[in-house]
């Protein structure tokens, strides 16, 4: 019990004295998951919007794939990306310039993009589909072109899109399976919050592990407070 309290105090001290190792890990986590979320947003928001609005053959299949993707176990994604990028894998041996190497930041971003895109697309799809279908015709009646009426629907769904982004970020900032497998937890280059917590716990460095855990919780909390603030402004 005492050890835990000491750990918490020590963790907080490291955090607030600006311990460089700790802060490097925090910043890398933010960088990897931030970049992954940005890419996922660019792909997932339009995809979700189209699926929420447009009818086309095969839509149900894509929807089912997205729902499956929303629950992908991170380790499985890690394994897939590992097999894709490894030297003996699928893309690895081709030495293509745009294919990232294993145990690098871009490889971790790739894995997290695969995890977050279905989340962003799925939540966006739901939000867009929930907008009253009568809205589009009414906006067209007021003079909106087809594109303008679609835009109105998207704007109407923007709260849901915020939820989609928070959901996507929540899904990747706290996952450990994928970043561990494709990042490798290399000190100073691919060590992020979750992998560091695992390592430090195993080593018995509970103070550092607790400090890191505290930061992760704080981050998740801040993200949700920010989102709640955005959502709250509308009501």
């Amino acid at each position: 019990m005492q050890q835990i309290w000491q750990g918490i105090l020590q963790g907080l001290r490291l955090l607030f004295t600006g311990d460089p190792a700790l802060w490097r890990i925090i910043l890398l986590s933010a960088k990897v998951s931030g970049a992954a979320l940005l890419i996922s947003a660019v792909m997932g928001i339009p995809l979700g919007a189209i699926l929420g609005l447009v009818k086309f053959p095969g839509k149900r299949l894509i929807q089912a794939a997205i729902y499956t993707g929303m629950g992908l176990p991170p380790v499985v994604v890690g394994l897939a990306v590992y097999l894709l990028l490894s030297r003996n894998g699928i893309l690895g041996p081709l030495n293509l310039p745009w294919v990232p190497e294993l145990f690098t930041v871009p490889a971790m971003v790739l894995a997290q993009v695969i995890l977050a895109t279905p989340l962003v697309a799925g939540y966006t799809m739901t939000a867009v589909a929930e907008v009253d279908p009568a809205l589009r015709l009414q906006m067209q009646s007021l003079g909106a072109s087809h594109a303008q009426s679609l835009l109105a629907v998207l704007r109407e769904a923007h709260l849901g899109v915020i939820v989609a982004l928070v959901g996507g970020l929540g899904g990747i900032i706290s996952e450990v399976g994928a970043v561990m497998m494709v990042g490798g937890n290399v000190e100073g280059s691919t060590r992020v919050l979750t992998t560091a917590i695992m390592l430090e716990t195993r080593r018995g460095n509970f103070d550092l592990a607790i400090g890191l855990g505290f930061v992760l919780l704080l981050l998740a909390f801040l993200i949700n407070v920010g989102a709640a603030h955005l959502l709250g402004k509308e009501h």
């Binding site: 015709l137 009414q138 067209q140 007021l142 003079g143 909106a144 109105a152």
Partner: protein, 240 residues
């Protein structure tokens, strides 16, 4: 004078059931036409067709001489607007809801126009209110405001006073009369209230199972109907 709308054998079906089936109908520029008829007669569907939101499955609807189709240019579409039976407002304040159509037309600064219309409809104090917080009667007046602020050539109204109290019904009826007299606006009013049709319209039509049964000058329609079904409807004796 060339008619604003001309319908020729215009038919619309949903899932194989014909909902609108109008052999011939001409609507004159500047006229005030009321359409009455029982629930499910196809009145709202007819308005969607006239607003180019849907297209006839067969036959033609001409607006200003041009056939309604997805290719109808936006400038022509923008001359016609509808106040819907169940208005859906944007998740925004009242003012922005009313400004929406004007902004689409490139008008950035439209405070004055918006405020004026809101004032006329007794909504002056609500301009900053969130649309979602309005009562249904207020929402209905906002829907009317966002349409008439556009000064459309054709105004289609689907039960615009269904949720209103007598004072507000009087208010919007005065306003519709004014718009009609001042702006050479063609007005089509769908209403369940035959007294409202009597008060406002120059011509009245009875719609039944997708067809126009009778269309005549309002006084004739009510006092001397040609069709026995019109007589039954006007006397409240129609059995659906």
């Amino acid at each position: 004078m060339a008619p604003v709308f001309r319908l020729e054998s215009a038919k619309k079906s949903y899932a194989g059931r014909t909902v609108v089936d109008i052999d011939r109908l001409e609507i004159d520029p500047g006229e005030f036409l009321a359409i009455v008829g029982p629930s499910g007669a196809g009145k709202s569907t007819l308005l969607r067709l006239l607003n180019f939101l849907e297209y006839p499955d067969s036959g033609k609807i001409y607006y200003a001489g041009q056939a309604s189709s997805p290719a109808l240019p936006l400038e022509l579409r923008r001359q016609v607007t509808t106040v819907f039976q169940r208005p859906v407002l944007l998740r925004d304040n009242v003012e922005n809801n009313v400004a929406y159509g004007l902004r689409l037309r490139g008008l950035r600064d439209c405070h004055a126009e918006v405020r004026a219309v809101l004032g006329r409809l007794g909504l002056g104090k609500l301009h900053r209110a969130q649309a979602r917080s309005l009562s249904s009667g207020e929402a209905q007046r906002v829907a009317l405001a966002r349409a008439i602020v556009l000064q459309p050539a054709v105004l289609l109204l689907d039960e615009p006073s269904a949720n209103l109290d007598p004072y507000n019904i009087g208010l919007i009826e005065d306003m519709l009369r004014e718009i009609h007299q001042a702006g050479r606006t063609t007005v089509l009013l769908v209403t369940h209230n035959i007294f409202q049709a009597k008060r406002l319209a120059q011509r009245t039509a009875l719609m039944l199972e997708g067809r126009i049964i009778e269309i005549s000058p309002t006084s004739e329609f009510f006092e001397n109907p040609r069709d026995r079904r019109t007589r039954a409807f006007v006397n409240g004796e129609m059995i659906y």
